[in-house]
Symmetry: C2
Subunit: 245 residues, 2 copies
DNA sequence: GAAAATTTGTCCGTATGTATT
DNA sequence: AAATACATACGGACAAATTTT
């Protein structure tokens, strides 16, 4: 093996960061494409002349970036991912937005309940606090991969039974149609980003430290009457949003 | 001090995760509101009966979530933050969007250069590859806090001298006006999220592991001709975007 | 199927560097 | 100048999961 540029100590840049940069460059260069994995931690430690823990810090950082994913007993896998594009517009719908990019899109009902609107939900839906609302917990999949999870609130009186309809057909748009709402439009969308919480990790199959894009969206019928307020968390490494003005 | 529930070993849940959950709950409960800080790592280690490194892992996880921020030599501070709202619409401008939320907004020129459009920039601006473009590196501040950093490309022939104009007045909108473009509108905006890179940490005063919201936006004049393509990175914990349809 | 080897995950202990108070 | 507290790195031990023998 030829000599190579070694990591340098006491330069103000931590060893683990130098090593992370080197490994990232190697991945981008395609050095590990044959196996799709990073060499074992012990091998990297030997190669860079550092302790295994230092390599682990570097790999942890790359894991944070979503570039690699460590699996106990197997190794550290290189992640490859393309982002699905979600247009945000009047006609924003989950399945339509990505319909041309994924072979199969599906909505899965995770849970549901009937409850009274708290201050936040009431304000968004334009209802008096305490009005009966139906809450649906759903997950959006594209090509068998979880992409988003949403909590949605609907006016309970207007969309009675939406839970079972959605469970059956897996689409809000179609559920609305079956319940007598032929069309609706996106009114406002708020977008923020956060670290994935415990529920995200499970539902979206993310690794700790991953990022979620969080949207708070209001859908209204053609008379401008709110029909759905939803809080959705998207796996940030699987999506991008586009706004066309 | 009364006895308290201790962390448990060999339960399948790592000690650092148990401790992170406990500290998070304490923060939310307001236990540390008097100081605004988490107790020292050594004190927490003693309290939970674990090694200090285990506490550090827990605090690192909370740092990832943006709940705390460790400062060398001082301690681990509890973060409290409100977000500036950026409307994304035809009239999207940095200073206008947050003008009613911050007392002072400012654009700072970090760097500039004249260069040839690469494939990406050429495609976005609708120019032939290799056309002369001006690149500005800018930082957006609100109330003396850095909020975003942007790389913008402009057709060089049309906006010659934009570098010095922007440096003087700190506003793209006003620079355009001085250069003969009275008005422009936002055409498209793409939004993704990523972990902050090294440059983000410096320019935006972020901690490692922080999140940035990344936008790729195209501004066009009233004839639909592209005038600016910009790639902007926002400190995710300081902003939210809203889309009104 | 069982055992061994491989690989990552967790925890402990220690030492030293660096920044703040 | 000294004390405090966070940052980095090393070494070792064992646990847990997976793959190979």
């Amino acid at each position: 093996m030829a000599a190579q540029k070694q990591v340098q100590r006491q330069t103000g840049v931590a060893l683990w960061r130098q090593i992370a940069d080197r490994i990232r460059a190697s991945i981008n260069h395609g050095d590990f494409d044959d196996t799709g994995m990073v060499p074992p931690e012990t091998a990297l430690a030997l190669q860079f002349g550092v302790n295994r823990h230092t390599v682990r810090s570097a790999l942890a950082a790359l894991g944070q970036e979503g570039i690699v994913r460590a699996v106990q007993g197997r190794g550290t896998l290189i992640e490859r991912k393309e982002r699905l594009n979600f247009p945000i517009a009047k006609r924003t719908r989950f399945s339509q937005g990505i319909g041309d990019q994924a072979r199969e899109t599906r909505g899965v009902l995770l849970g549901a309940s009937n409850e009274r609107a708290d201050a936040e939900v009431a304000r968004r839906l334009g209802l008096p606090e305490g009005t009966a609302v139906t809450r649906l917990e759903t997950r959006g999949d594209a090509d068998q991969r979880p992409v988003s999870r949403a909590t949605s609130w609907f006016p309970a009186d207007r969309f009675a039974g939406i839970e079972e309809v959605y469970r059956r057909i897996g689409s809000i748009t179609k559920a609305f149609r079956e319940l007598g709402l032929a069309d609706y439009v996106r009114s406002t969308t708020e977008i923020t980003a956060a670290h994935a919480d415990t529920a995200d990790l499970g539902d979206l199959e993310l690794s700790p430290g991953a990022i979620v894009l969080v949207t708070r969206a209001l859908n209204v019928d053609l008379d401008g009457l709110p029909v759905q307020y939803s809080l959705t968390r998207f796996a940030a490494d699987r999506v991008q949003f586009t706004v066309e003005n």
